[in-house]
Amino acid sequence: MSKNYLGEFEELVLLIVGALQEEAYGNNIMQEIIERTGRQVNLSAVHITLYRLEDKGYVKSDMSDPSPVRGGRRKRIFRLTSAGVKVLREQQEQRIALWQLIPQLKF
């Protein structure tokens, strides 16, 4: 249970990693969060969350090819692992199951 636990922000980042596919690197993920949710986040917070997810095995990362935009620096691209997909799905199913327990919304 505790192993599969995902924090709210972690879930958000994980979803965005899944959504962005090949473009899922630190800066892009931050932009996406800002645009989609309107909340202010720091780059460092995003990075740390990504590393934490990596430690938990939900994402893996590779370096991209160098691009001229960032002074020639490569990007670290994150991808969902199957464990990551699984935990997102579990989370989703749990939610839906809980939704269905709420009577007013069910007709």
């Binding site: 690197y25 720091n42 780059l43 460092s44 590393y51 001229p68 960032r70 002074g71 620096r73 490569r74």
Partner: protein, 886 residues
């Protein structure tokens, strides 16, 4: 897209990020940051963007990022286990070197632990009292005209802890900030008896306030309603057990000094070894034999007094109050003193100062039980540090040399991608492991040598007496420091090897010993310093203990015949003499007011208008013959009333007052204006310590003036000492059945005064031995390695006809030279230090230059023995084998 005119992110912030970020992350992190910066730059001013950039970068500076490569990426636990495994294998592979290192270090660590215990003990002295900050001991500070004339004295004031009795009685009424006050007057060597249990005790006369001020807990009885009558007594638990065993002591009576019955009112815990107040029993000050007369006598300074101040009291206010008090009670007296001793108008005659309870122990200038010079701590710490440094040097030089042999291992590791940091880490872990093993042995050694160390330090230390956490922390810190100090240099050297060279050439040319040579010199200098000091100390102590003292100190038994104000004890000497006259083993008995090596009475007298001082010993007519003191002129005392008004002086006194032809002249040293006739002159003999010159002294038999004979000195037959003691004991039992038979030998008593020097001497001998042992261990290892490095050279030389002797000399020459250089370096320091030590003695030996040469030869011999094993082995080895080597 990047344009040439677009603002640039500040370089230093980028470098900062590169510095703290783990290598794996730095590229993507900095890339993201820079991309973000470019976006800022589009929307806001360059300055603001840079500021943002800095701020956002700084947010990455946090443990999760910093520690990342250490925890997740490289898996250092794996590496660490590899390091420890390799380190362990290395230790096993080179057992001898590991042993040399660990042994040397463990001795150093053991000594450090003991000295750490010593320092803890010094620091906690008297601090266990909850009110130790509010309790003060009062001191008298008075003008001493002797000191004023002495050019060597720092100030004309003399300080002591002894005050008039009355101060303690009035101080609480006179000074409102004084909450409690107590006198604490030592009771020395008084006999205490309960039935047939008779022992001598040391106690103290105190006020009832004593129990409110100090934290000595009551085991039985209570601090309230105590000492309402003078014949009450409080015992420590140890004393109570000694007399009463398992009985309940409360309400029982003890016979003190053979005549007073004291009722036991309470049992308190024993004062710990780290207390400046030491006693086995406490009696009310009102029971002091001279209490009533002393109350009136404000000129009698013999009563130590303690006060406890209110927590809000100011010290300067207290000082002013004390001045007022002194003026009120001693004002007249001070004027008289000023006149009599011609004290300059502007100088204070007398004042009362105070020392905080916490400072008593280290305020060694004011004499007090166990008060010591804090310098001892520094000297001890210094010695420990010296030995530790010598042991660390061993490790450094051995490990540096050994790393030369491990260059292949280092090469392979480097080729496989080990970073420099990783290699340093590996060597460091090895050093830590060796140190940790050494620490375990060191702890064991410290445990076994605690008693010896206690003997030296005059303490009662124990490893179990201190919070184990302190010891654990100390050892951990010690391991870390020693491991780092001794492991770092070899580690850096080893990590520098060029892998290509070491792998291709195999055994690289030996590591340059540029660094090990000075280390060996330093090691031997330190050892030489300790050896020279120790040997000169031994010679001096030998000189002191064998110097002709001018009297016969052997076969003299000393008995204490008198105590407190029991005048009866005075005639006991005469009775002993009569009773032992028939004994074949006792040749003569004499009495003296003071035994040797201490003198309590010193009188001032005027001669031809000038003030002089002389020690005064009250004796009897048997004194000179019993001790074989030689008369230079005149005659001995006779047992006549007329001779009570005569004195025998020593030559030093005549020199002091420049008197010639003294016989028949008179000295006025008492209130008697006629003076005492000089009937004899004795040759100078050393009645005090040899630290000083022989002082002026006079002998008298006038007990009325100088007090009773406190000691019986009994000359016994050296062949039959046990029988003589048995005779004496039976006589004593019939004459004084209520007093314990306590005796000592005069020569032992005299030796006791040099005990502290003897202790230092033993300490120096021990440290010198340890230092030279550790240095030799190091040299032994080092010689082994250099011989190994020269195996091929030796083989070639032998093939060309060199014989074993030539090889031996070739290998040893350098160490002889190093030892000699070290020795020459050590000489000036040791001469300086030892001269300082010798200056304590008036009768000191001259440093013998022959000895210095002898020590040099000794040192070279020791070095030769240490390296000899390897050189002989190498010199005798078959050259064919050595050439095939590698």
């Amino acid at each position: 897209m990047k344009q040439s005119n677009s603002p640039k992110a500040p370089e230093w912030v980028q470098r900062f990020v590169e510095w703290f970020c783990p290598d794996e992350l730095v590229e993507s992190v900095l890339g993201d940051l820079l991309e973000e910066f470019d976006q800022y730059a589009k929307h806001m001013s360059a300055r603001k963007a840079r500021w943002r950039f800095f701020w956002k970068s700084l947010l990455f500076f946090r443990p999760y990022i910093l520690m990342r490569n250490k925890i997740a990426m490289k898996n250092p636990t794996l590496l660490l286990s590899n390091y420890t495994k390799i380190a362990w294998r290395n230790i096993l592979k080179r057992k001898m070197y590991a042993f040399l290192n660990a042994f040397g270090l463990s001795i150093g660590i053991a000594i450090s632990i003991l000295i750490y215990l010593f320092i803890i003990d010094e620091y906690r002295f008297d601090r266990f009292h909850t009110k130790s900050e509010q309790i003060f001991r009062l001191n008298e500070r008075s003008y001493d005209s002797d000191l004023a004339q002495n050019p060597e004295a720092e100030s004309p004031y003399r300080e002591s802890a002894y005050l008039p009795l009355g101060i303690g009685s009035v101080i609480k009424d006179e000074i409102p900030t004084v909450k409690h006050a107590t006198r604490c007057v030592p009771i020395e060597n008084v006999s205490v008896g309960y039935g047939t249990n008779i022992f001598k005790e040391n106690g103290a006369f105190v006020d009832a306030d004593f129990f409110q001020m100090f934290d000595f807990q009551f085991i039985k009885g209570s601090a309230n309603q105590l000492f309402l009558s003078p014949l009450e007594i409080v015992l420590t638990s140890e004393t109570a057990k000694k007399y009463f065993g398992e009985e309940d002591p409360i309400g029982k009576t003890l016979k003190i000094a053979g005549s007073y019955d004291f009722t036991v009112m309470g049992i308190i815990e024993n004062p710990p070894a780290y207390s400046s107040l030491n006693f086995s029993m406490l009696a009310p000050i009102q029971a002091h034999p001279r209490y009533q007369e002393s109350l009136e006598s404000w000129g009698n300074f013999s009563f130590p007094t303690f006060v406890e101040l209110n927590s809000e009291a100011s010290l300067s206010g207290f000082k002013n109050n004390l001045n007022t008090l002194v003026n009120k009670y001693l004002g007249d007296r001070m004027e008289r003193w000023r006149e009599r001793y011609k004290i300059p108008k502007n100088d204070t005659v007398f004042e009362i100062t105070f020392t905080s309870l916490q400072d008593i122990h280290h305020n060694y200038k004011i004499e007090w039980y166990k008060a010591t010079n804090p310098q001892t701590i520094f000297i001890l710490g210094g010695v420990a540090l010296l030995i530790l440094v010598i042991a660390c040097i061993n490790y450094v030089s051995l490990a540096t040399m050994l790393s030369a042999q491990r260059n292949r291992e280092v090469g392979v590791r480097k080729v496989l991608g080990a970073s420099k940091k990783g290699l340093i880490g590996q060597f460091w872990v090895e050093a830590m492991m060796t140190t940790a093993i050494a620490a375990v042995f060191g702890l064991g050694l410290a445990y076994f040598f605690t008693d010896r160390f206690n003997d030296f330090a005059g303490k009662n230390l124990s490893l179990f007496d201190v919070n184990p956490l302190y010891i654990f922390l100390f050892i951990v810190i010690l391991i870390f420091i020693i491991g780092t100090f001794s492991g770092l240099y070899p580690a850096i050297i080893a990590s520098r090897f060029n892998p290509i060279r070491t792998l291709r050439i195999g055994l690289a040319a030996s590591v340059s010993s540029a660094f090990s040579k000075p280390l060996v010199v330093l090691q031997f200098s330190l050892s030489a310093f300790l050896i020279i000091s120790a040997i000169v100390m031994v010679q001096q102590m030998n000189y002191i203990t064998h110097k002709e003292l001018g009297f016969d100190q052997s076969q003299i038994v000393v008995l204490k015949s008198y105590e407190q104000s029991n005048i009866e004890g005075n005639s006991i000497i005469e009775r002993i003499r009569q009773a032992t006259a028939s004994s074949r083993h006792i040749s003569s008995v004499t009495g003296a007011g003071d035994s040797f090596a201490r003198s309590r009475s010193r009188y001032g007298y005027r001669y031809q208008g000038e003030q002089h001082h002389s020690h005064v010993f009250v004796v009897d007519p048997y004194y000179l013959p019993t001790l074989s003191i030689k008369l230079k002129e005149g005659r001995n005392f006779r047992n006549t009333p007329a001779d009570a008004q005569s004195v025998i002086v020593n030559e030093a006194l005549l020199r002091d007052i420049q008197m010639t032809d003294p016989i028949g002249k008179r000295l006025t040293w008492t209130n008697d204006s006629l003076g005492y006739e000089i009937i004899g002159v004795v040759e100078d003999y050393y009645f005090l310590s040899l630290e000083e010159e022989v002082q002026p002294m006079l002998l008298t038999i006038d007990q009325a003036e100088t007090g009773p004979l406190n000691y019986a000195l009994v000359k016994v037959d050296g062949q039959h000492i046990p029988e003589a003691i048995a005779d004496l004991k039976s006589v004593w039992k019939t004459l004084a059945p209520d007093k314990p038979f306590d005796y000592s030998f005069l020569d032992e008593d005299i030796a006791v005064q040099y005990e502290s020097y003897q202790r230092w001497m033993r300490m120096m001998l021990l440290s010198a031995g340890i230092a030279i042992l550790i240095a030799c261990l190091g040299l032994f290892g080092l010689a082994g390695i250099t011989t190994l490095n020269k195996t091929k050279e030796i083989g070639i030389r032998k093939i060309f006809g060199a014989n074993a002797a030539v090889i031996f000399i070739m290998l040893n020459k350098r160490y002889m030279i190093l030892a000699s250089i070290a020795y020459l370096l050590a000489i000036p320091f040791s001469i300086y230090a030892i001269q300082k030590w010798l200056s304590n003695f008036h009768y000191a030996i001259d440093i013998n230059w022959w000895w210095l040469v002898a020590i040099l030869i000794l040192l070279n011999l020791i070095a030769m023995i240490a390296v000899g094993y390897h050189s002989i082995k190498a010199a005798q080895a078959n050259p064919v084998k050595s050439l095939k080597w590698e």
